[in-house]
Symmetry: C2
Subunit: 299 residues, 2 copies
């Protein structure tokens, strides 16, 4: 594998390719019945995502003193789960988006019912992969599944999306409420990605906690950066509709605090995240660089 010395972009594209190969090998083939459903699942999974969550998981395993390879199953599960949340968030009854990563959203291509089912099946497949990969000692065997379920459930991604939709229906959201939405909707899964990497590496609980703290801060910064991109990018750059948050009156950092204060907050979070990494035994340079990339990215 390429070392971190070759720079973050090369490492990210190497890890992204490794995750894609593993997903391609593990997911049901497009021709396997029910072919239409498997086609829909693959359409959304292989839509050009950046694979941020799996990459964080793999790099966290290494930062915790373990081997990247040990974290491939949770890395895949994280991306399957993330993809399901995108499919369901895009639905007409939710954010009603037509474009995602530059391509028509799943419900525009396969119809609403099949999009919902493809999301359901991806969520289920994520837990199937984890059921095949028990956590190594000192962790309980179900630790990886437990992390993903808690991060994704009613007090995680699903709860965050619920609160986000509820906030849209109101005018004016308090800053604490906005931060809770961000924590649930975005930071919980990114923190879980980092914790799962450490768990899969058999790292001690203190390392899991450190990486969880790193992931929580990076996750909040990631969401703020997303809000900024939605406000200032072009559709070509982002591969999806822009300015949609403002039109919808969606609760965002940018709406509450403006662009500059949001940028400042994201940078502070990244610095906090980077500082936490000092407590780990493995190589942490890639995670430090990745935290910066996440707030400075342009798509």
């Amino acid at each position: 594998m390429t070392s971190a010395g070759d720079g973050l972009p090369a490492l990210m594209s190497e890890l992204r390719a490794a995750v894609d190969r593993a997903l391609d090998a593990r997911m049901p083939a497009e021709t396997a019945p029910p072919a239409g459903l498997h086609r829909a699942m693959r359409y959304s999974v292989f839509a050009g995502g950046k694979r941020i969550r799996p990459i964080l998981c793999l790099l966290s395993a290494e930062a915790a003193g373990g081997d990247r390879g040990a974290a491939m199953a949770p890395a895949m599960a994280l991306e399957l789960l993330h993809t399901y949340t995108l499919i369901h968030d895009d639905l007409p009854s939710m954010d009603n988006d037509d474009l995602r990563r530059g391509r028509p959203t799943a419900h525009r291509v396969f119809g609403e019912a099949n999009a919902i089912l493809s999301g359901d099946a991806l969520l289920t497949l994520a837990f199937e992969l984890l059921a095949e990969a028990p956590a190594p000692p000192p962790h309980p065997s179900g630790a990886l599944s437990l992390e993903l379920a808690r991060a994704a459930g009613s007090r995680g991604v699903a709860g965050g999306q619920f609160e986000d939709l509820a906030a849209e229906a109101q005018s004016g959201v308090a800053p604490e409420r906005l931060e809770r939405i961000h924590r649930w909707k975005t930071a919980s899964l990114i923190a879980a990605a980092c914790r799962m990497g450490a768990i899969a590496a058999g790292a001690p609980p203190e390392s899991v906690a450190i990486l969880g703290g790193y992931g929580e801060a990076v996750g909040l910064a990631f969401q703020i950066a997303d809000d900024i991109l939605n406000a200032v990018s072009s559709p070509e750059q982002l591969g999806k509709a822009v300015g949609s948050d403002a039109r919808r009156g969606k609760a965002t950092y940018v709406a509450l605090f403006g662009i500059e204060a949001s940028r400042e907050r994201a940078r502070t979070l990244v610095a906090e995240a980077a500082a936490l990494l000092k407590g780990l035994s493995g190589p942490t340079a890639p995670l430090r660089e990745l935290a910066h990339f996440i707030v400075e990215r342009d798509r």
Copy 2:
């Protein structure tokens, strides 16, 4: 606990109450944030379901020579998962049903987006419960999760619903295709319920296989009985719309073979299921009676 000698109805209502108490204690409270989402989850879980799958799971643990109590976690997970499938199946883009168990469906009460999210969160919670309950030897620790994920995924319940919707759009479905839909959509989860009970009891693989065979046959019989009820019941009796299958041109046993041949096929399956039970070490009378109840029930 009541013994099987008191008759199946008393045993079923005792087990149903035990499952309901356990679910009530384990699910997030209605007042816990996000309260609206937790309210929606509880609305659908506590809607008067018969708890057939959890009951099959508990009785299978006992039939395999183990203790019912050991199977409570998978029993709960099965009901959470089953409830999610009902919520999503009822959605406007799927079966578009307004009534379920005599009450308005989740999307009629909470709106479509929140109904989808409550189903997502219930599916996720099912795997959270199983992550906390590793399978005992001789089974791999993730065996319960694996059973549920396979039964629910693209080659299980989600795939069955996908094929069911696809078949609706066509006229004339071959018998083999109909049976595959039934196996994926209904029998897979009922077979998993029985297998999971045996696994949770630490039963040997042969007992797991026997109970899986029993569950598969009972599951097919259950679906045929459902089709018959949809064709001949009153809405008051069933707590949901009737005759809807025929109006929709839905693929059913009744549509293909008529009522009498369907009844006959269900009874044959139940006899096959009952014969399999002879290979088990624990008490099997309740499972034998339950198989009969499932095809003879009137709602």
